[in-house]
Symmetry: C2
Subunit: 502 residues, 2 copies
């Protein structure tokens, strides 16, 4: 077998699996939007069968043979070439997939399914003890998985690397430490400022159809191509890239919470523009894929927060909003900006503001690291949770449902996943600052309705690059600087000093 | 390999392929309902890849080995057992799939794709000559396919059998002859009756949202389970069984043509109730599948016409309609029945009434049979078409677009498909008459809103039986009589004599 033949086989296999996977994406979209209730059981079986068939395909020993035949040949000598990138990533996927014994994969699927269902009941009943033994099992299996996957420093790294390649506990700990110090300080200053915000204006009642129209208009103005996408409604907003020309988002609307539907839409539109900007000609191979959860989250948060909560953006968009939603017509820009940028410690992560959000993530990162290291027992989680909430946010939950039971992630076995949310913020800030230097001032562009320049900049620097580089390399190449929380901290300090007159 | 092991392998393969196929069904549904325009290219590639992978699966030589190992063993000694039915049908599918050389399959796919696209242009331009060479190619390939598949009497039979197992030109010719004689006579009497109908009331304008609500109400009253289905809008109405608990229909609405949306819904609801009534425990195997197009069509036409255009039905439903659609409130039952049962020769099959519809099918059956037999040349089709239209319906098209270019079927290579429409009517009449004898008078039941009795009868006699028997055996077992056009002719004569005072 020549290197070329081996590569051809790998390419064909990758494309076929991607087409099958993309049918799974469509099925997942349908499951959360239009699936009739009676079809849920069939859908679960259908997706499980597809997952099994895809796993069989990805662990096909012929892939191992072909990889061996193409690695270290002239075909992949340029490490940035599509061939080299693909072979590198196919190797990674093959090794990861073949390292997990089938027995372990089956156990994980079974235990997390049980744990998710028990978690739901436990949350409803506000009963940590019910969930405890399941979380213990989930963690044991995740430890086993980490050992199967392999790591250099500690088991947690193996899990984290699946979501954010290259990151380790050792890279994240100093990053979170720096963030914590600044954010806790900033939060104290904001709380001490005495400035109160006008959030009630966001609690006014707005007709859902008008909200929908407004959200479509804004998403489209930012650059989300609706000819190649659509916006539907689902309980939890998500973005799904079914294939080139077909990247869909969902959001949810609440008559009395206009911010929910709107910022949900902007967030998902950010994810979707990344997917829409991936190089079409490389679809179905790693070269054409999004590189990591952290980079994906940087795109959603950049458009949701850095753009969507900025003065420049709203000086252009507020009149549009007032035309579609006349109840906003008595609102001025300053009041509106303060309303959508209110910082206030709260118990539930998904409702947190930009600043305190990262402290929620920090808390989870620290707890899951301690759990994985065996320094914290499952039964001690609620108390540790309360302690950290008090320390970082100055409040604590009176129930487990609003505390350690609030997120599904651990039940679902997603250990090492939370940090990617904050990494998303860190990367977004770095990118935004670099774009502002190169093609800014961005807010002046937004104020004239020019969002295309920023989108184009991101397209060239991030979207079209696919998985060519690791996330940190990508940020370095795009911004000229190593990723650090510096830009994020400076963004928060500048923005909130102005808003809160600090 | 024991027979049991062989059967296990075949079963597993069948289920896996069905789950994959069912993802394809979902993708086809989405393609015609919600797919963004930009995603069309990807969807076509996705479906083509799936078709190729499914073809690889179905022609896997291990299937041949397993079939050989299980056939003629004790496991399949009872021919009506699920095992025997499945093995019989898997053998049929395997033989058919392996008999067509890959080169031929590829040619057919390519030529029909071209022919469909040229047909669309030719129809628009009203230009038969443009389409002629493509139809000639399509027919040549269909003849080649027929030879590859094999037949006893003539090539046409091989094609027909794929859509309606067991049927041949020799079984259909006398059936159509009998039908033609009666229908042409009945049509003459109706036309001579001088009775004119009140169709304008159906051309009144009805708000689309009200039409939708009314169609949902009626479909649901008939027994289409909307918890296990949904109704969407598409250019051409269709039913799609994605899996147990998930059988969807579509329809189309026109403000000035209420009959189109309504009878479209009833027709598709009939198809859908068949799919919903298939035995869930046998899903993914032939035992759990619909047996043929003719039987499927019998279900749609039974609910659309035998039920949905009956006096009993409307004496219950008209008040419901009048409540939802107040513009119908000046309508009386007799006028309404005549309006929805108007018989009048027309040029376009899909707009034809119940009676003349079969004459359209007859015309196509005769032409395609002559084409396949080499008795008719492609260039002579338009003239032959006009002659037959004149002979059977007393009218003729002034354009090819309303004549020989009106249907996509031939361009799509669907030779031998048309007869299943009329077989559907024949089977529907036989079933309806039998049900009327056993649990009737059915119209009295309909008049009280009892549609469940008929649905249950069909469920037991047809739906739950899946593919256990051939279509004609199924009809014989359900009705106690051999299928013949007798019931259909008698239904038409009774119904239209009354309506038209013949």
């Amino acid at each position: 077998m020549t290197a070329e033949e081996a590569y051809e086989f790998l390419l064909k296999t990758s494309l076929e699996s991607s087409y099958l996977g993309s049918l799974g994406e469509l099925a997942a979209w349908d499951q959360r939007t239009y699936l009739p209730r009676g079809g849920q059981g069939h859908r679960a079986e259908q997706l499980a069968t597809l997952a099994r068939l895809l796993h069989e395909r990805i662990t096909d020993p012929r892939i191992g043979d072909c990889l061996a035949a193409v690695e270290r040949t002239a075909l992949v000598s340029d490490p940035d070439s599509p061939q080299a990138v693909n072979v590198r990533e196919w190797r990674r996927d093959y090794d990861l997939a073949t390292r997990i014994p089938e027995r372990l994969a089956v156990d994980i699927a079974r235990v997390t399914a049980e744990a998710e269902s028990v978690w739901e009941q436990a949350k409803q009943a506000d009963d940590w003890h019910r969930f405890e033994p399941y979380l213990a099992q989930v963690l044991d299996l995740q430890k086993e998985k980490a050992h199967a996957l392999g790591y250099l420093e500690e088991p947690y790294d193996a899990l984290l690397d699946r979501y954010e390649r290259g990151e380790t506990a050792a890279t994240l700990e100093p990053l979170f430490r720096t963030l914590k110090d600044s954010l806790v300080q900033l939060l104290e200053k904001i709380e001490g400022s005495g400035r109160r915000t006008a959030t009630p204006l966001l609690a006014r009642s707005f007709d859902i159809e008008s909200q929908k129209r407004f959200c479509r208009t804004v998403a489209s103005a930012l650059g989300y191509d609706l000819e190649c996408g659509r916006i539907d409604v689902s309980a939890h907003p998500f973005t799904i890239g079914i294939g080139p020309g077909d990247v869909r988002i969902t959001t949810r609307y609440n008559e009395n919470q206009i911010a929910r539907g709107l910022f949900g839409t902007l967030h998902e539109a950010g994810h979707a523009m990344y997917e829409q900007g991936l190089p079409r000609e490389h679809w179905g191979t790693p070269r054409g894929q999004a590189v990591s959860l952290g980079i994906h989250e940087s795109q959603s948060r950049l458009w949701e927060n850095f753009v969507g909560r900025s003065r420049g953006f709203w000086s252009y968009v507020l009149p549009v909003a007032q035309a579609e939603l006349p109840r906003l017509s008595d609102t001025d820009l300053d009041g509106f900006l303060l309303a959508i940028n209110t910082v206030a410690p709260s118990l539930v992560r998904v409702e947190a503001d930009e600043v305190t959000y990262n402290l929620h993530i920090l808390l989870r990162f620290e707890l899951e690291l301690s759990l994985m290291r065996g320094e914290l027992s499952v039964s001690a989680v609620p108390e540790a949770w309360r302690m950290k909430m008090r320390e970082y946010l100055g409040i604590e939950p009176s129930s487990e449902a609003a505390g350690a039971l609030q997120d599904v992630h651990w039940a679902a076995g997603l250990v090492g996943y939370f940090p990617t949310y904050t990494l998303g913020n860190v990367f977004a800030a770095a990118l935004y600052a670099a774009a502002d230097r190169e093609i800014g001032p961005l807010e002046e562009r937004f104020a004239c309705g020019d969002f295309a320049s920023l989108k184009e900049w991101l397209r060239t620097k991030i979207h079209e690059v696919g998985s060519t580089y690791s996330p940190r390399q990508l940020i370095l190449r795009a911004t000229g600087e190593l990723a650090s929380p510096k830009s994020l901290i400076s963004y928060y300090e500048t923005k909130y000093s102005e808003l809160y007159h600090l």
